[in-house]
Symmetry: C5
């Protein structure tokens, strides 16, 4: 599972009905590459999240027929882009 940062919400008036009502997030990795994911975890702009890809991404939505290859799996509590996770415990 990859670690990415939420940068935006994607606006698509014409989109596949198989994506249902799910909100789409634009995410960026540390090299600047952008990807789009479904988010059932309620992430917000600036959050660092980890994402689930492949067939597991579909099962991660409440309805497994949702058409996605990337789904947010969790919001990381503390993440520093230069140093990774901060020692917090």
């Amino acid at each position: 599972m990859e670690i990415l940062q939420v940068v935006d919400t994607l606006v698509c008036t014409q989109r596949h009905p198989g994506l249902q009502q799910y909100s789409l997030r634009v995410l960026r990795n540390t090299s600047g590459k952008l990807q789009v994911a479904i988010d059932p975890c309620g992430s917000r702009e600036g959050n660092w999240v980890f994402v689930i890809s492949g067939s597991a991404a579909r099962y991660a939505c409440e309805d497994p027929t949702v058409l996605t290859d990337l789904t947010v799996g969790g919001i990381i509590d503390y993440w520093d882009v230069d140093n990774g996770q901060l020692e917090t415990v």
Copy 2:
């Protein structure tokens, strides 16, 4: 899901019957890499789209036996190649 721009329609007289009657699009990412996708969304040359890969790409066609590993999932309303999505709301 990746963000790509439609550059062309692919002409293949000899193609696998499992692709059925679907139109094939040539898409390009920001590094210039080309890929081919099935498009059930009606995208046009110049549109920025996001694409669904893997097994979900097959389910994204009305007939899930269509042979594809990449399917257009939606047309992005406003996209700037340098700045990403424009603030529109």
Copy 3:
């Protein structure tokens, strides 16, 4: 689906029986990376083809139990390595 050029046929005396009698092609992308695919479309050396990956590659063979992760999906009518598809219509 990726766009690759056929460079050779692969000779493997010891190969997995699950590949059956299928011919194996060596393909090259524009960066020079080589890959191996099953070809049910009858491509020839020098042809530019697009290939289907993942689970769809198995369904693209007449027998879906064939063990492959890459199958030729079609032969591109006209392709120029520098300019992509030529305007032909």
Copy 4:
């Protein structure tokens, strides 16, 4: 299957219930890229492990409905980051 080194345990208060009680590891490859995996093998910080990706990652958990695309498959006995596996037998 890739070879990665365990660098940390990931702390996510808000995470998908489909990940169940599994511990999440942050892993790093030799280029410094970070990934997150489920670990049913009991790896510790500093260990070199190999990881299973894709649909097999789900089956590698005792419960195949666990939502993961990367699972630790084994801890390598001796690994040298510069020279790979040491001659040990």
Copy 5:
């Protein structure tokens, strides 16, 4: 399917029982990147092989519940790292 060279056998005392009794090979591509695969074909150090990835890798073992995402599919008869396959027929 990728073309890789066998460099070693991987020693893992603590490994997932789902890998069963299969021997694990360390393989290297032409850029030096290492990967781990199950080998039902009997390859030896120095052999050039092609590997099957994804769900097909599991079906390539006699028992499809084996946990792998990469399996050796065949041993290439003649391969030259600089020139690819030699003309042999």
